[in-house]
């Protein structure tokens, strides 16, 4: 028997809420799932068992929301990367969990290109802010943002004013590696996967589609690529940084020297200080392959990660292989993979799950969450063994984040 909260059950329109079975162990902490879509944003507040979900939204109805993130340092500040079909991109922030929103006074924007015929690099325009990452726990109110086309920005005042990293955005070599808009993903090339080492606020990673994975050890004053071992499309030279297309990179909280990557050309792991990625996706079933977009790490076990494969054959449908959605988990660092599809549709489900649209909470057992471009929000309360639908009929889902309420 499905159970819904009183609020969601009485809604005349909008996403429907569904229940899942009781968990083996009842976590006492509460999760809020932040859903960013092409037409607005929603917050799903879970009860203590993650069994029922109270719907809060829409926020920014009709706005294109690429990312919605809760600040883990205060548990109440939200940042939303927004734009509309007509208006330029901006970032909104809320300090009361979305009851009120304020717009950035200086949104992420590239430097104005110098006028004149001698300009070697044309000026660029931020189409949208794509990725938001809170800075280190010891840097309250500081955030990083990645944009499309590729740009890196930082705010030190809670998302109100954003400053560009010229070392990336205006560097001739990086501009070469970024390529043009035509070299990027269908909805624009992106800078994403901005990662802060939890042990060291000056140690950063970021990735570009296209343009490779990069590391900074000086808080972004300089960056250097880390692409050794990563493959590129057949026939191209992997030594050329521009050809690398990391889709999503995640650092393991329990072992910050280990990162995992879902790439256009496979699934990888790297154990620092090594500079070489290892393609652990070779161990995935051949009929499924190791192409996809999201990469989800376990909060306490660096050997455990989840992926959600997409069809990367022929013309790249970017849908669940054979129309059968399924997550895959490894619990041994990528040596072996197990399919997890209990509760998911068994056929004719041509899902696409974008790189920001799958995530995990930090409870025990870990909850997994994913959103589809067809507007369905699914979750598992037992680390992927059993899946249930939380909501349907949402707009195209761009990003899903899970955060804990205080």
């Amino acid at each position: 028997m499905a159970r819904t909260t009183k609020k969601s059950a009485t809604r005349k329109q909008g996403p429907s809420a569904r229940a899942t079975r009781a968990p083996r162990r009842r976590p006492s902490r509460r999760v809020v799932v932040l859903v960013a879509t092409r037409k607005g944003a929603w917050l799903f507040h879970g009860d203590a068992t993650r069994r029922t979900w109270r719907v809060d939204g829409p926020h920014f109805l009709g706005h294109i929301v690429n990312h919605l993130v809760l600040d883990p340092r205060d548990g109440r500040t939200l940042l939303a990367a927004t734009k509309t079909g007509h208006l330029g991109p901006t970032v909104h922030h809320s300090t009361d969990l979305g009851r009120t929103w304020k717009e950035a006074t200086r949104p992420p924007a590239f430097a104005k290109a110098p006028d004149g015929p001698d300009t070697k690099m044309p000026g660029r325009v931020v189409d949208h802010t794509f990725w938001l990452t809170p800075c280190h726990a010891n840097e309250p109110n500081a955030w990083y943002a990645g944009t499309s086309p590729q740009g890196l920005f930082r705010s030190d005042d809670g998302g109100i004013a954003w400053e560009p990293f010229s070392v990336i955005n205006d560097d001739p070599l990086y501009r070469t590696w970024m390529g043009s808009v035509q070299d990027g993903t269908p909805d624009g090339p992106k800078l994403h996967s901005i990662i802060v080492d939890p042990r060291d606020p000056v140690h950063l990673y970021m990735a570009m589609s296209g343009g490779g994975v990069h590391e900074s050890v000086d808080r972004g004053r300089t960056f250097a690529p880390i692409v050794k071992g990563m493959e590129v499309v057949e026939g191209f030279d992997p030594a050329t940084i521009a050809f690398h297309d990391p889709h999503c990179v995640r650092l393991c909280p329990s072992n910050p020297d280990r990162l995992y990557q879902q790439n256009h050309c496979g699934i990888y792991r790297i154990d620092r200080p090594s500079n070489e990625w290892v393609r652990i996706g070779r161990n995935m079933p051949k009929r499924v392959g190791d192409i996809g977009f999201p990469m989800v790490v376990h909060p306490r076990d660096a050997d455990t990660v989840w992926v959600f494969p997409m069809d990367g054959t022929t013309v790249w449908p970017r849908t669940s292989p054979e129309g059968k959605p399924g997550a895959y988990v490894t619990r041994d660092g990528g040596k072996s993979w197990l399919r997890l599809d209990s509760g998911l549709p068994k056929s004719q489900a041509w899902w696409t799950v974008k790189r920001q649209a799958m995530t995990a909470d930090a409870l025990d057992p870990v909850g997994l969450y994913l959103g589809t471009t067809s507007g369905e929000l699914w979750m598992s309360r037992d680390e992927g063994h059993r899946w249930a639908c939380i909501a349907r009929n949402l707009p195209e889902i761009y990003a899903v984040e899970a955060a804990e309420m205080r």
Binding site: L87, A111, K112
Partner: protein, 85 residues
């Protein structure tokens, strides 16, 4: 001069018609941004170009030149062009 505001920008002005001053469209937008912070960047990008789905009409005539001269008696209409579903 009178400025007619399209729906997507009403979150800034709260009304369909506002008054703003400027000898050119560039100056007029600067005044609008002073009155309604953030307004300009939503319609003009960081390279000072009109955003793809924004259009300006002065006294009913479409204008693309941001240095177009304006008189206090002119009327500027900001229009949201088609941008897909």
């Amino acid at each position: 001069m009178k400025v007619l505001i399209p729906g997507p920008l009403l979150s800034y002005t709260k009304k369909r018609e506002v008054e703003a001053a400027g000898a050119t469209i560039t100056e007029l937008l600067a005044d609008l941004d002073r009155q309604y912070p953030g307004f300009r960047f939503r319609v003009i990008d960081e390279q000072d170009k009109m955003r793809p789905h924004i259009r300006f009409f002065v006294n009913g005539e479409q204008v693309f030149d941001m240095t177009h001269s304006l008189r206090p008696t002119d009327e500027l209409q900001i229009v949201q062009a088609l941008s897909g579903g």
